[in-house]
Amino acid sequence: MKYVDEFRDPSAAARYVRQIARITSRNWTIMEVCGGQTHAILKSGIDQLIPQRINLLHGPGCPVCVTPVELIDKAVAVAAMENAIFCSFGDMLRVPGSEKDLMSVRAEGGDIRTVYAPTDALKIALDNPDREVVFFGIGFETTAPANATLVYTAREQGLKNISILMAQVLIPPAMEAILNAPDNEVNGFLAAGHVCSVVGFEDYERLVAKHKIPIVVTGFEPLDILQGIYMTIAQLEEGRAEVENQYRRAVQRNGNTAAIKIMHEVFTIIDRKWRGLGIIPKSGLALDEKYIEFDAEKKFGVADITAEESTECISGLILQGKKKPHDCAAFGTRCTPEHPLGATMVSSEGACAAYYRYRKAIPGDDPKEKQ
């Protein structure tokens, strides 16, 4: 298939693996930021092919995983309301809150609908004028423009029965939080290509200048990731620290200006709590004052709900790259995709789910040996 097969070509992949091995002279730790990249790495087996001296850490780039438990509790409270239709991407339904997940609310009679795009919620609101439609606005810069468009359109059309539960987060502040941690081990980043396709990579130039660390904007196909690793290792071995763009076929330095414009129109930057990472300054998006009538937290009085994370789940450490899924005592035993303790085991972009699905039990292949 065009535009896919050429990025999975086995002989080109083998050439990259050889080149990476040739230039790697010491141990390096690289974090791929995006959960989509984590899954691509494990699915295609890139971690098994590259030199053992390169340690790939899995970053916080899974929108479901970083949503704190108290936001799930807020969603549960809103979704259980008599007149509500709660619209969410499917992954969020199985993330455990303090007491229950959204799937249980649905089983108890809550009207919870899986949608594929924010505009689906708009249509549901138009079709159900007597009901309160609430959209769970999760995700990074990738989903922000579409979620902003939902709110913008609702205001344009004068819709009064739709609101958004905002859980929107931003990637560069989370990368900075990881770099600022006293025990940071990350030598270089593969930045999330899809995020950069929306907002560009100017923000990373500041990060690189401050922290002297290579950042390579990287795509999601096996060859993208191998090339991203090669470019990062080359910088490290040559003592360079720059922003480089591997994903040129999708990403421009300035990003997508129309998408950025609508984000700025509808949202404002706030401090936001991340699961496992705590409050990160200027790392989230909230509705701008002009659109505040669409804020579900305010509309339904759930803003004050707070909750603590489960103590057994180490997803916080996993999201910071400090632990790998196999390091968790509950992995694959008390915590499985059927009975998840934390979000990283639920989401199709979560690191624990990726390890569980692709690496559970190949005899003789213990991922710990590579660490």
Partner: protein
């Protein structure tokens, strides 16, 4: 399925009379008898139904009898490449064929929601008749219930089936042997993506049609040629992955497949790429995996490709002499990973 197929065959219960199913159609009185006579007995007409008895009585004269049942709740009821009626016949026929049986008789139970369009019920009955004719089976007994509006989803269908086995082969996962070659009869993932596109109103450049098809004739061709079939399994909801995981786990042997050999059309692959799906987990309704000894591989392939009209039949992997009972796949770039069942449905990626 194109609606044109039904042109010229008007619903025998005129729309002016009963355009929609009433609760009374399940009430055991005249309306129910009229519904059964005019819709089901007319569409499925055969000597067993004409006896209007409580059940069908028949003689199978076989060494062994295979018996199976399945319920069909597909949404939407009509989708590109088929409908719930065709599915209800093909699904049960295929389950019998996977036991190495020749399907003969089906039952059909309908749970219909009050208000369901009579014309749609007629289309479904005709589609079941066509599917039964194609698979050379008869629908010989049945049942009709009507539930209150809001308590069903248009129509649910249960079919059970009886088939005969007149050979001595034990076609089952326990017969799988190291060295067996694994063949799939065509490209995977069409049914799941066709249903999903229709249900979620996703539009792609081309319409993906369901692969819904009967497999009994193909199995018969292989048995007639005396192919030493070790195991057959139709690929249904959990896709190719779930079927292979089940067989590996039951047989106790490791199964290895190669990603580059898995047949999937560009439409399915493209839709999967957009949604973040893996075609090996997408549902099928006319696909099966066939386990045969390596010496039988060429003959099996030629039967599939030449006399059974499966031009895309492909060897996808083999059974390994390793008692781990797992499935692994060699990725396109040459690394090995484990294939497991999913916990539930695949969910589209968020970003």
């Amino acid at each position: 399925m194109s609606e044109n197929k039904y042109t010229g065959l008007n619903c025998p219960i005129p729309i002016t009379e009963y355009p929609r199913i009433l609760l009374a159609h399940g009430g055991g009185g005249r309306l129910m008898h009229q519904l059964i006579d005019k819709i089901f007995a007319t569409a499925f007409a055969n000597p067993h139904l004409e006896t209007a008895h409580d059940g069908a009585v028949f003689d199978t004269e076989s060494k062994k009898t295979a018996f199976t049942t399945d319920s069909y709740v597909v949404d939407p009821l009509f989708f590109p490449g088929g409908d719930i009626g065709k599915l209800a016949v093909d699904g049960t026929v295929n389950d019998l064929a996977m036991c190495g049986a020749r399907p003969l008789y089906l039952s059909a139970g309908f749970i219909i929601e009050e208000g369901f369009a009579m014309d749609d019920l007629w289309k479904i009955a005709l589609s079941m008749r066509d599917a039964a004719d194609e698979a050379e089976v008869s629908i010989v007994t049945g049942d009709t219930k009507v539930v209150d509006k809001g308590r069903g989803h248009g129509v649910f269908i249960n079919t059970a089936g009886v088939g005969v086995i007149n050979h001595d082969r034990n076609i089952s996962p326990s017969s799988v042997q190291p060295g067996d070659i694994i063949i799939v009869n065509g490209d995977i993932g069409r049914h799941g993506m066709a249903i999903m596109a229709k249900r979620e109103n996703l539009s792609f450049e081309t319409t993906i049609e369901s692969d819904c098809a009967p497999l009994a004739a193909t199995v018969k061709n292989m048995l007639d040629a005396n192919i030493e079939i070790h195991c057959l399994r139709d690929l249904t909801r959990g896709g190719l992955a779930a079927s292979l995981v089940e067989i590996a786990s039951t047989s106790g042997f490791k199964i290895e497949i190669e990603e580059k050999n898995i047949p999937a059309c560009d439409e399915v692959r493209g839709a999967c790429e957009i949604l973040g799906f893996d075609p090996i987990y997408v549902a099928n309704e006319g696909r099966m995996v066939i386990f045969v000894p390596e010496k039988e591989a060429d003959r099996t392939m030629s039967i599939l490709r030449e006399s059974s009209s499966w031009p895309d039949a492909t060897v996808i992997g083999r059974v390994i002499d390793n008692r781990t009972g797992i499935v692994t796949m060699k990725s396109l770039i040459g690394a090995e990973r484990i294939i497991d069942m999913l916990s539930g449905e695949q969910l589209p990626r968020i970003c």
